[in-house]
């Protein structure tokens, strides 16, 4: 049976046999780059369409249904339009930083793709501190937003960027703490290790109520970190026109848009890895026959299924809840999420030390 890891392995073998080690490394880098870029493009197309359909159905509308069968080609048409549109740079803008910001946003997204395990033993870069790496690199994202807001030389952009910065810096804390609960439970930062530790059940089921609490906090915090409604103060359309990307148009705007959706995918993939077992099929303890049946579904389908379930959850939030005010936003983080996640971390540590988890 073919799988992602087999394909990757055979390509690597062929490259190593055919070329010298340096050239084989270069070829592997190019292949990985092309794969990540095409994944980006596909994700952008799918997620934008999904968002529009989900929002439409939640608001008793139909959503895009004209271009192609059931409207599935709508995002292709939109992308084409954005590609041929003129990318303006405002006269008063800092031209270098203005053009650098969307590229930085996308590069950060690419870097974050590296440690994610898409299928069984299929990963671009298996590094020992995978989870820490993700939370570290994702903090560069805020700088691209701050850069875009500053370089636009526009008060709306600057205010959006400031809000976004304050928001991301504060919500990183509770996201980090809720990631830590799982790290405490399985004792590793390595993503394959975390996934293999869930072979007899996912952490959200094994970790009792504290795991569920930290899952909820994680989802709230990453929704805030990706600047999505109800935490979309950074681009609050009704107050700031479009926040930090007010001045962007054409392809540069598309890059920001793409980076937003890629970030949503990445945080959901991390959430799925930590709490829902990544590519690990649904296993219950030692029920061997049940586990074997579940194993017949390929691991990549499990991974993408869980990730898209979380993405749907975040979209559900977006189209249900009203936007928070800035003081409510900070109240929620500093008075509720942070104390709760700290106490929760303490509880999880007790559970892990006493071995009470399943």
């Amino acid at each position: 049976m073919w799988s992602f890891s087999n394909i990757a392995g055979s390509i690597q073998n062929w490259l190593n046999q055919t070329f010298s080690p340096t050239w084989s490394l270069v070829m592997q880098m190019i292949i990985a780059g092309i794969a990540v870029i095409s994944l980006f493009a596909v994700l952008g197309l799918i997620l934008v369409l999904m968002e529009r359909k989900v929002s439409a159905w939640m608001q008793i509308r139909l959503g895009p249904n004209r271009v192609g069968p059931k409207g599935i080609l709508q995002t292709f048409a939109d992308t084409l339009k954005l590609l041929v549109k003129e990318g303006l740079t405002p006269a008063g803008a800092d031209k270098l930083l203005f053009n650098l910001a969307p590229v930085l946003a996308l590069v950060v997204g690419m870097l974050l793709m590296a440690p994610i395990a898409f299928a069984k033993d299929f990963q671009l870069w298996n590094l020992n501190i995978g989870v820490l790496y993700v939370s570290a690199v994702s903090s560069i994202m805020v700088i691209s937003i701050l850069m875009a807001g500053w370089a636009s030389n526009n008060k709306y952009s600057l205010m959006g960027a400031m809000r976004s910065g304050a928001q991301i810096v504060s919500y990183e804390l509770s996201a980090g703490l809720s990631i830590l609960t799982i790290v405490v439970l399985c004792g590793s930062l390595n993503i394959p290790d975390i996934i293999y530790s869930q072979a007899d059940g996912w952490w959200i089921f094994k970790g009792h109520i504290p795991a569920i609490i930290s899952f909820v906090i994680f989802i709230i915090a990453v929704t805030a970190e990706t600047n999505r409604a109800p935490f979309d103060l950074a681009e609050a359309e009704s107050e700031l026109t479009a926040g930090f990307h007010t001045e962007y148009s054409g392809m540069k705007f598309a890059l920001f848009f793409l980076a937003e959706y890629v970030n949503v995918f990445i945080v959901c993939a991390i959430g799925a890895t930590l709490f829902l077992g990544g590519w690990m099929p649904f296993h219950i303890g030692q029920w061997q026959s049940f586990n074997h049946v579940m194993d017949y579904i390929p691991s990549s389908i499990w991974f993408f299924g869980k990730t898209f379930f979380l993405i749907f959850l975040i979209m559900w939030f977006r189209w249900t809840f009203p936007r928070l005010r800035i003081d409510q936003l900070l109240n929620l983080e500093w008075k509720y999420l942070l104390p709760i996640s700290m106490i929760n971390l303490l509880l999880v540590t007790v559970i892990a030390i006493l071995g009470w988890h399943f």
């Binding site: 989900v54 159905w57 939640m58 608001q59 008793i60 509308r61 139909l62 249904n65 559900w316 939030f317 189209w319 249900t320 809840f321 509720y336 709760i340």
Partner: protein, 158 residues
């Protein structure tokens, strides 16, 4: 006590969020309730809501008669000068001069469909129609004269 209130707050918040999510989740799973009308495709069966207002029309009956006395109540009621009534003087059978409608000028491009003119009209001569396909190539065409040529006031309407 502070801590009890704090925990109560959390549960209240979570509960209210869940109520909202249940509503949107219900809509998401019940596609039959979709209220969107696919307009150009369903021109024949288009079903406009009762209170939809498209434009002001002057009601003419089959004898090309209307009920407008030219009293300019609608013109006075209009908040943004959409209606301009031009009056003339008719000679009645008794040889008296009588004020009558000459031109009912209606600027559709200024109208906000507020319905105040309809309420103001003492003889119910005008009403809101439901036509809405108003796009034209020249905005002069949006200035309409609502009384049909040769029309006159219905007998008995004062």
């Amino acid at each position: 006590m502070f801590i009890v209130k704090y925990i109560k707050n959390i549960f209240k918040g979570v509960k209210s969020l869940l109520v909202g999510m249940r509503r949107t989740g219900y809509y998401f799973t019940h596609h039959k309730e979709i209220i969107t009308q696919q307009y150009p495709d369903n021109k024949e069966t288009l079903n406009l809501p009762e209170r939809f207002k498209g434009e002001v029309v002057l009601i003419h009956d089959e004898n090309n008669e209307h009920a407008c006395t030219g009293c300019t109540a609608c013109e006075l009621a209009c908040p943004n000068a959409t209606i301009k009534i031009v009056t003339k003087f008719d000679i009645t059978a008794e040889g008296k001069k009588k004020k009558a409608l000459d031109k009912f000028v209606y600027h559709l491009e200024l109208c906000t469909m507020c319905n105040l003119c309809i309420i103001a009209c003492p003889t119910d001569a005008i009403k809101m129609d439901q036509t809405f396909e108003h796009s034209v190539f020249d905005r002069k065409e949006l200035t309409k004269i609502l009384n049909k040529p040769g029309s006159k006031i219905r007998d008995g309407v004062e």
